[in-house]
């Protein structure tokens, strides 16, 4: 497929190779992801960070197999994927619980699809509900829960499918800051407990530094890999680490990288608005 594939890394469970995605829009073709290549090691927590409009979510959809018209390849444990793969579990940015199912029925959903017997899948679902700290809410409907709790239901549902790789697209974007920090702790704790390989898409630097082993910074349109930063902070981590000096240095370093991209994005947006005003007046 590709002539410049990155060197095979021992223990690489996910390999993204020269992925390029083009979209046709009314204003002409847009390159959402340009030649994106990276690997994720078994048990690693990798974050992809970038300004809005850099194509992070496009990468998410390509790896998740929901977007198939791309160039390049994505391999899971050596197997090329073209469509949703059972080794990859996705947690979406948007509210994605089923409002007509209880918490238990929501979490048991992927198990139901595989035809697991009812008693067993309820048992499994309970296990993951407890893991995300929602025990006691098993029979509630999502409408009765807070946004943060609903996002934990989504997380438990994806964990219940026992994916090799947990793929999350800004799962905390819609939550307030405190909830976001506490939920981050929960994710870290689960990730360490399960040694869960995790790929997190985010635009929040604190979140990324707090959780990741490595951070991949993307450029603003077209979305390329700008830099990959190793985060050498001790584990286990909690949100308390946010106050440390080393943490601050990483945040500053990544903000430095991002600022350039974000302001490019901002200028682009402004130009866009002006262009539209000019066109409509």
């Amino acid at each position: 497929m590709s002539s410049s594939s990155p060197p095979r890394i021992a223990g690489a469970i996910l390999t993204v190779d020269d992925v390029t995605v083009r979209f046709e829009t009314p204003e002409g073709p847009v390159i959402a992801a340009d030649d994106v290549s990276f690997t994720v090691k078994d048990g690693e927590f990798l974050s992809i960070i970038g300004p809005s409009g850099c194509g992070k979510s496009t990468v998410f959809n390509v790896i998740g197999g929901l977007l198939t018209h791309h160039e390049g390849t994505v391999r899971v444990a050596g197997e090329t994927i073209n469509g949703p793969h059972q080794s990859i579990g996705m947690v979406f940015q948007e509210e994605s619980t089923f409002p007509w199912r209880t918490v238990t029925a929501n979490v048991a959903f992927p198990l139901e699809l595989t035809g697991m017997p009812k008693q067993k899948r309820i048992e499994r679902a309970r296990y993951f509900i407890k893991m995300v700290g929602l025990d006691g809410f098993e029979n509630r409907y999502p409408g009765e829960l807070s946004g943060g709790m609903r996002q934990r239901v989504s997380l438990a549902r994806t964990l219940a499918s026992e994916p090799k790789i947990l793929l999350m697209d800004e799962p905390f974007a819609a939550l307030d800051e405190q909830t976001r920090l506490l939920l981050g702790d929960k994710v870290l704790q689960i990730q360490q407990q399960l040694r869960q390989t995790t790929l997190l898409i985010t635009h929040n630097i604190t979140e990324a530094v707090q959780m990741s082993d490595r951070i991949l910074v993307m450029t603003y349109r077209p979305g390329k890999v700008k830099r990959i930063v190793d985060i050498d902070l001790p584990r286990p981590r909690t949100s308390e680490i946010v106050g440390s000096e080393a943490f601050g240095r990483y945040v500053a370093q990544i903000w430095n990288d991002l600022r350039e991209e974000a302001s490019r994005g901002l200028r682009d947006e402004e130009a866009h608005v002006l262009h539209h005003e000019a066109a409509s007046s």
Binding site: F92, F98, W100, P110, L113
Partner: protein
């Protein structure tokens, strides 16, 4: 939903003495006494406003005759048949239009504008096609309920939260699983709402057709009471009919309430 909240509030504020209940009782009593006054005043032509006791007697008379239940059965059967045929057709067409943008653009405007036209005027055609028996009433009921159900389902299909579909796909659900576990439950509100509108339309269509031309059914009984100028009987008929119609509507609404437990 706000109404149930208020009702519950009213109930918890004391079963009989809440101001809302008092106002309601006052309105009902006021209306009934004005009615009774009119009935005894003799100002109105003959039996137009019969006294409440005579209406009550007619009501008891009506409900104690097996004859009424036979005619009720006929009408309910016609409505059920109309709702089944029209509902199935509406569901199928609605899903097609909801799933396909091209078809929706090509045909939905026709349904949208034909939907609210008066259907009873098609009754002469239905008689020519299906005869004077129950079939023509079922046909008119079917025609009446098809449109709201089709439009409601089509709109519901388009309103499905796209992320739920992506969730299903990410867990590699097959087509049947997508339909049964995602599309249909996600569309439960518009489907139930469509059935509710459709039920109302089927009821009106069927009964109006019965009043126009038939020899059995509730509509026939009503028009018979009218033509023999048996006013207490007609009031009794209409009261029972409205109670049943509003009850059926509330029942389907309750069904919707069950399906939507606390999912705001």
């Amino acid at each position: 939903m706000a109404e149930t909240g208020r009702l519950r509030q009213a109930a918890s504020a004391g079963p009989l003495l809440s101001p809302v209940t008092l106002v309601r009782v006052a309105i009902i009593l006021g209306a009934l006494s004005i009615w009774e006054l009119l009935a005894h005043s003799g100002w109105l032509y003959r039996d137009v406003v019969p006294s409440l006791t005579r209406i009550g007697a007619a009501l008891v008379d009506l409900l104690s005759h097996g004859d009424y239940y036979f005619n009720l059965g006929v009408t309910v059967g016609e409505i059920a048949a109309a709702l089944t045929i029209g509902g199935m057709a509406g569901l199928a067409v609605g899903i097609l239009l909801g799933a396909n943008r091209f078809l929706s653009k090509a045909f939905e405007a026709y349904l949208y504008y034909l939907g609210p036209t008066p259907k009873i005027i098609f009754f002469p055609i239905m008689i020519m096609w299906f005869g004077v028996g129950p079939e023509s009433k079922i046909a008119l009921g079917t025609l009446s309920c098809f449109f709201p159900i089709a439009l409601s389902v089509a709109a519901g299909m388009r309103q499905i939260d796209k992320v739920l579909i992506r969730v299903g796909r990410s867990f590699r659900a097959n087509t049947m699983q997508m339909v049964w576990k995602i599309y249909l439950p996600a569309m439960r509100h518009p489907i139930i709402n469509g059935v509710r509108l459709g039920l109302g339309m089927a009821l009106i269509g069927t009964l109006l057709a019965e009043t126009k031309l038939s020899n059995k059914g509730i509509g026939f009984l009503i028009i018979q009471a009218y033509s023999t100028f048996d006013m207490p009987q007609m009031y009794a008929q209409l009261i029972v009919l409205f109670v049943l119609a509003i009850g059926a509507n509330a029942l389907v609404g309750r069904l919707g309430g069950l399906a939507n437990i606390k999912s705001k």
